[in-house]
């Protein structure tokens, strides 16, 4: 519009203004041309590349995305069409849930006709079990090796995850995305049905619906190569590209008696019982890890234990301290626990291994069969009656059994402690031999897997405090653990009956329920427990770690009347001790008529760094520690569009060249103005 002027422009300016007019119009119209062609798919989750000492695992796309003709994989004949008989390879496979298994994926991997896979994530058609993890989790970084219990190593005695298909540890040369949003999947299906369906057995004609997936990963080969290349980039390149980042986050720990955080190394006169569980999970796809039975069952049980123990340990404190720890990164070769043990060995932690009396770990405890809970111990270093659970179990609706004498420990953080010192300890689990969890470390290990169901007529607020069966079951386990820990710490048995876990722990204290609700619904859907890359890259601390830290502060801390600035600098206040406590400025409980005044809470809850010691020691090929970095990438997106043959594109190009030539040769006729212009030559 800004080039429309009052009258005919003088000749010298006419062509210039016409050019500017066209280019201005083009600038306005070009974005909508792209929108007319491409439909961006926003609700997708990629599979990314991870490395270890010798291999790369995960998925990779080409640097400018992988494009393929859409085909929905619903039946076996579709599979043949994609892999051998379809006339328009490469295909972009939209995979129904039932087909996402090892055999189909390996056939896709070996075929050159597959450009990528988009998996529809839904419960319809879901197989009875699906675990993309390996059958023997963390087999090389546990305690059993050629030199310690060699006949127990590598799951010779018990295969812990027999349903595991190992897909998460395969290397795919094409992108694999997950489609989580039903509406978006409908859009894709509609595009497929409109254009790509076979009619009476004959192939569909162009234009066809195609999809393009971008997930180009920077890292390649293995950890040593990736870290070396990152190092070379940082030293010699003007614009360094980082290729991969170590997985890193924080462990959360607390103790019944506060420990002096600034005194590292051996703590005098402290004998500590460690109660531990894991804080993370994983699945085939990036940052997706609902991990209900695998992780949440343990976290909630330990939180309930802490809540159950806090009144008794104030009134009748046991002689030994109880140290509660939530280890992050255990899915990836025990990142958090190996780091804590490493720090303890080097006297870089508040306690060291000489302070540790024994250890009780909570494994997967959500899917108990009947009343039984199993205590796993290490046959090689087994000591009699390492933890007394019988008196703890008295009066509860549980029986605690021991598996057969020669069975090794399941994959657990306790194994990392055993690698260094023969500490007595137990791992509590709901399984005797293999896991009860049929969806271990997968997208489908969610609340439904734990049988968390509500009566249909409850509002979300009522659901928040409803005691489900799962909650009651976990509360029983928590009561057992709390009582066992109290006895183990030397407490008197007469106080045991006062220790009971509250099933409402599932959504915790009313004061915290708003915080929980905020975190729960802040992301879309339930919290995901993938470890992530830590504060350097991801901004502040991972949401789940923060969540557990603040809940612990709420459960075990005390309210102080410090102001905000005092809360942030408590060393200035005489009565407060920054070495023993950490201070949190939190908003108060919300109620109907006030929004909650903020206040300062002090608690002995701390975070400790969870990054594999191999990255600090710079031993990137180390077999002793986790060396799993995650690749970096530039952009990850997906889009669908109608695809025309190359011939049409070439024809359009030639036609436009012809038209341009024709117009330019007749330019004097087409563009001359009414006035005669003097012929000027330059």
């Amino acid at each position: 519009k800004n080039c429309v002027s009052g009258g005919p422009a003088p000749d010298e300016n006419s062509s210039m203004s016409r050019v500017m007019c066209v280019s201005a119009a083009a600038g306005v119209l070009s974005s909508s041309v792209e929108q007319k062609i491409y439909v961006e798919l926003n609700e997708t989750v990629p599979c990314v590349r991870l490395l270890n000492a010798t291999h790369q695992i995960g998925c990779q796309s080409s640097i400018s995305g992988d494009t393929g003709v859409l085909h929905v994989l619903e039946t076996e004949s579709d599979l043949d069409w994609i892999l051998s008989s379809g006339p328009h390879p490469p295909y972009m496979v939209i995979m129904e849930t039932a087909f996402f298994n090892r055999s189909v994926m390996m056939r896709m991997k070996n075929s050159s006709r597959v450009a990528g896979v988009a998996v529809i994530v839904s419960k319809t058609g879901l197989a009875d079990n699906f675990s993309p993890h390996t059958t023997c989790p963390n087999q090389n970084t546990g305690v059993y090796s050629a030199s310690y219990g060699s006949d127990l190593a590598n799951c010779n005695v018990t295969m812990w995850n027999p349903l595991g298909n190992g897909l998460s540890y395969e290397d795919f040369a094409f992108p694999v995305f997950a489609l989580k949003d039903e509406n978006q999947t409908q859009v894709i299906r509609k595009c497929y049905q409109d254009h790509n369906l076979r009619v009476n057995g004959s192939a569909p004609q162009y234009p066809l619906c195609a999809m393009q997936l971008f997930s180009h990963m920077h890292a390649a080969t293995d950890t040593v190569t990736c870290m070396r290349r990152t190092d070379l980039q940082n030293r010699f390149s003007i614009n360094p590209e980082v290729l991969c980042d170590p997985l890193s986050d924080f462990n959360v720990w607390t103790s019944t008696r506060p420990l002096n955080n600034s005194a590292k190394g051996h703590a005098a006169n402290e004998s500590v019982v460690i109660a531990a569980t894991r804080l993370d999970g994983r699945s085939f796809f990036w940052e997706q890890a609902p991990s209900a039975e695998g992780t949440v069952s343990g976290i909630v049980t330990l939180l309930a234990t802490i809540q159950a123990l806090s009144p008794v340990t104030q009134e009748a404190p046991p002689p030994r301290n109880i140290f509660f720890s939530f280890f992050q990164g255990e899915a990836f070769d025990y990142i958090g626990s190996s780091k804590m043990v490493y720090d303890m060995e080097r006297n870089d932690f508040v306690i060291d291994l000489n302070n540790v009396h024994s250890m009780l770990e909570i494994g997967q405890v959500g899917l108990r069969r009947g009343r039984s809970l199993w205590m796993h111990s290490d046959p090689v270093s087994r000591q009699n009656k390492s933890v007394d659970t019988e008196s703890a179990a008295a009066g509860l609706n549980l029986t605690v059994d021991q598996p057969s004498v020669s069975q090794p420990l399941p994959p657990s953080s306790f194994q990392r402690f055993l690698r260094v010192r023969g500490i007595p300890g137990l791992v509590l689990a709901d399984h005797n031999t293999s896991f009860n969890n049929r969806y271990y470390e997968s997208l489908y290990d969610d609340a439904e897997n734990l049988n968390v169901t509500y009566p249909p007529d409850l509002s979300p607020d009522e659901q928040l405090v409803y005691e489900t069966d799962a909650a009651k079951s976990l509360a029983e386990v928590a009561t057992l653990v709390a009582r066992s820990l109290y006895i183990q710490a030397g407490g008197e048995k007469k106080n045991l009956n006062n220790i009971t876990a509250d099933p409402k722990i599932w959504f915790l204290h009313q004061h915290v329920s708003d915080c929980v609700r905020l975190l729960w619904f802040l992301g879309s859907g339930p919290p995901q427990f993938y470890i992530g890359l830590g504060p350097r890259i991801h901004g502040p601390v991972h949401s789940v770690t923060r969540f557990v830290q603040y809940i612990l502060a709420n459960l075990t801390g005390t309210v102080t009347n410090l102001t905000e600035s005092q809360c942030q600098n408590p060393s200035e206040v005489n009565t407060e001790n920054k070495d023993l406590f950490s201070y949190f400025w939190v908003s108060g409980p919300a109620s109907v008529n006030n929004t909650g005044e903020p206040f300062c809470r002090s608690a002995s809850v701390r975070l400790s760094k969870a990054v594999s010691p191999a990255f600090e020691l710079l031993e990137y090929g180390s077999p002793n520690y986790s060396i799993i970095p995650q690749s970096r990438w530039k952009s990850i997106r997906a889009r669908i569009f109608p695809m025309l043959t190359l011939g049409v594109g070439v024809a359009v190009l030639l036609l436009s060249l012809l038209v341009t030539y024709f117009i330019s040769s007749k330019a004097e006729l087409l563009f001359s103005s009414a006035r005669e212009t003097p012929a000027t030559t330059y």
């Binding site: 390649a220 080969t221 070396r228 070379l232 690749s631």
Partner: protein
Amino acid sequence: MNLERMPNEEKLSLCRRYYLGGFAFLPFLWLVNVLWFFKEAFLKPAYTEQPQIKSYIKKSAMGLILWVAVLTTWITIFQHFRARWGEVGDYLSFTIPLGTA
């Protein structure tokens, strides 16, 4: 520069300068030499300086062919084996492609 208008002695000295310059690891000078003076050396009627220009052109051409052979061989080997050389390959590379071995 138009060779048509240059006297023959200047042509000879230009040709010689390009020939000598190419020894400083500059094979493109030899390439330019060959292409530029080819007509002068082989297609024009004879003149006094022509035999010397011819010899410079021939030597430049031989040097050029040698360089092309060596560079082609090295580039082929490097592109093929860089991934297999691991650490040595990375230290020899100026730009390492992302995401592939």
